[in-house]
Symmetry: C2
């Protein structure tokens, strides 16, 4: 049933060549070692038999598995996990690498065990990915072979990392709003416990300043739908003074709440007010009406770039470097933002 596959030996016999000639041809090391017509015959024989080299055997010989391991802390609970894994998997596949995953299953779960297991399995490189952006103490095992961090940074600063450029994201989101003619933009939401918030607000204020506008108002609130609803409800109440032209929300959840508060207050979005989210959370940002304009967290990109960086190092036998790569958060324009109403 495990239909016996042809080996290099079979191909060699079929083509009237030696096993080593087959090996060289399959690996592109044949020029200058095997005559052109022999190469051609081998290639034809391989095609005919549907021969494809046995990766385990070649891995054993080369001491390379062509596998990249990905260790995650609690991917299970994150709606974004799939995107990261898909990004890494696709990038890796493009270079003939496979991605193997190990989900540690909880925030507290120590990833060390899984890192060791993956190393035992002889992965060529390792990605340690966290669910939320933060700074971590890197387990020793990671330093023993090419590795990078995704969505987190090394407390010691000695390990390469790929993280979203939240400051730039905050700035560009604000620029989008400004370019639509909005002047009075209010920030809503985001508890103080998460690293991303201050960065986004920094970008927000920077854009405002660069446009010669006064610092933006920042309304404290949580990260969830209801937090956004409440904060926006208060903001839109006539007795609380003139309403803003636009609100920039700490997350898509907050923005969803704001969206519904606007509707409740009889405001048209984006006719009367523009609402901007952050995260591009699937099945949320694209599920509201109008859809949320938002800054996408580059999860797919983090996976892709992490894989590419490791593979580049592997394939060129170079060190991987300790730089932190900041990835742009792409602006996703849906329906919740539009031109300012007043002249």
């Amino acid at each position: 049933m495990p239909n016996r596959r042809p080996t290099a030996q079979d191909v060699a016999k079929h083509a009237g060549a030696s096993r080593s000639a087959v090996s060289m041809v399959m690996n592109g090391n044949a020029d200058g070692n095997v005559s052109p017509d022999m190469q051609e015959r081998i290639r034809r024989a391989a095609a005919e038999l549907e021969y494809t080299p046995h990766p385990i055997a070649s891995g054993l010989r080369r001491q390379r598995s062509r596998m990249i391991g990905i260790v995650t802390d609690e991917a299970a609970s994150s709606p974004f996990a799939g995107r990261m894994l898909a990004g890494a998997s696709q990038a890796a596949a493009g270079h003939g690498y496979l991605t193997v995953i190990a989900d540690a299953g909880g925030p507290a779960a120590d990833t060390t065990h899984f890192i060791d297991e993956l190393r035992r399995r002889r992965v060529d490189g390792l990605i340690l990915a966290t669910q939320s952006l933060r700074t971590i103490v890197v387990p020793d095992g990671l330093r023993l072979q090419p590795s990078v961090l995704a969505n987190c940074r090394d407390a010691a600063g000695t390990m390469g990392a790929i993280i979203p450029d939240e400051v730039r994201g905050g700035r560009e989101a604000t620029e989008h709003l400004i370019s639509l003619g909005h002047r009075r933009i209010v920030w809503i939401g985001g508890g103080v416990d998460v690293d991303a918030r201050p960065a986004r607000i920094r970008g927000f204020q920077a854009a405002l300043a660069a446009a010669g506008l006064p610092p933006g108002e920042v309304v404290e609130a949580g990260w969830d739908i209801d937090d956004g609803f409440r904060a926006a409800e208060a903001l839109f109440a006539p007795e609380n003074g003139p309403r803003p032209d636009a609100v920039f929300c700490a997350s898509d959840r907050v923005a969803t709440g704001a969206l519904l508060a606007a509707r409740t207050a009889g405001l048209d979005v984006p006719g009367d007010i523009s609402i901007m989210g952050y995260d591009d959370q699937r099945h949320l940002a694209d599920a509201t009406v109008p859809g949320l304009t938002t800054m996408a967290l580059p999860h797919e990109g983090m996976g892709r770039v992490a894989a590419e960086r490791i593979i580049a190092a592997l394939d060129s036998n170079a060190e991987i470097g300790a730089e932190t790569t900041l990835l742009e958060c792409p602006l996703v324009v849906r329906g919740s933002t539009g031109p300012a109403a007043r002249a």
Copy 2:
């Protein structure tokens, strides 16, 4: 730098035994072949040298990779993908298997190529997982080694599958509502294009009938937040007659809309009305206030059971069977449902 690891040879020398003795001890085949004290010495030597067998070498010899491949259609865009992969990864790890993933990257992308690639890599078994519940034509490659489907079923009915028991989910959700004293329960939402909807509604009506209640009203609407908002808004309007005791929503998104419609209408949830969701979509069902009571789609379970089923077949050398396993959708009680208000 790839710090040379000890081999079975080293352990044998260290313990004064033969390579094969070491192999037997490490694989638990030693009893009756190696003397107890020798076994002990070998074990100690292995521990001392931190020896751990080389999986690639043993894989080559045994013609087993101890890897399970997972092919997904468009996991990237699904907020649920991570849970399935985590479930599979954890279950596999528990049996000494590794999960390798290949994301085909799109709905249309043909998974055949990825199945072949994984087979080339000699995975021992394969899981084909889809993002949304549906019936598919199984690629030939899948039939060539132990495989199961997750979240989809085989059009030909000859391949094992793990899918959520949506009928039971609909029934149990309704029973929960009935047990709280609700009598007039209305279904909201869910376009006709998705397989899950009719199943859930069937369960809904079955529970009602079993309790001796009249068939429930079904309100057409889409799957998204705004669909729920609009449908619930109409439902709660006084001019449309007495309002229901509870609404059962086709998805958490619809329920989120209903929740906000209730608030807008001045209704207390769950004091005045109970709202039930479906999916347990993270960062949504747990992000509203009150949190949504919902039926969780068993993504983690599908991953886990799929992996376990394959591994069981692999480890016992048995056929995998064509049965479809229906997985319970667990009831997740949060704050949006409560006892009926009236006596």
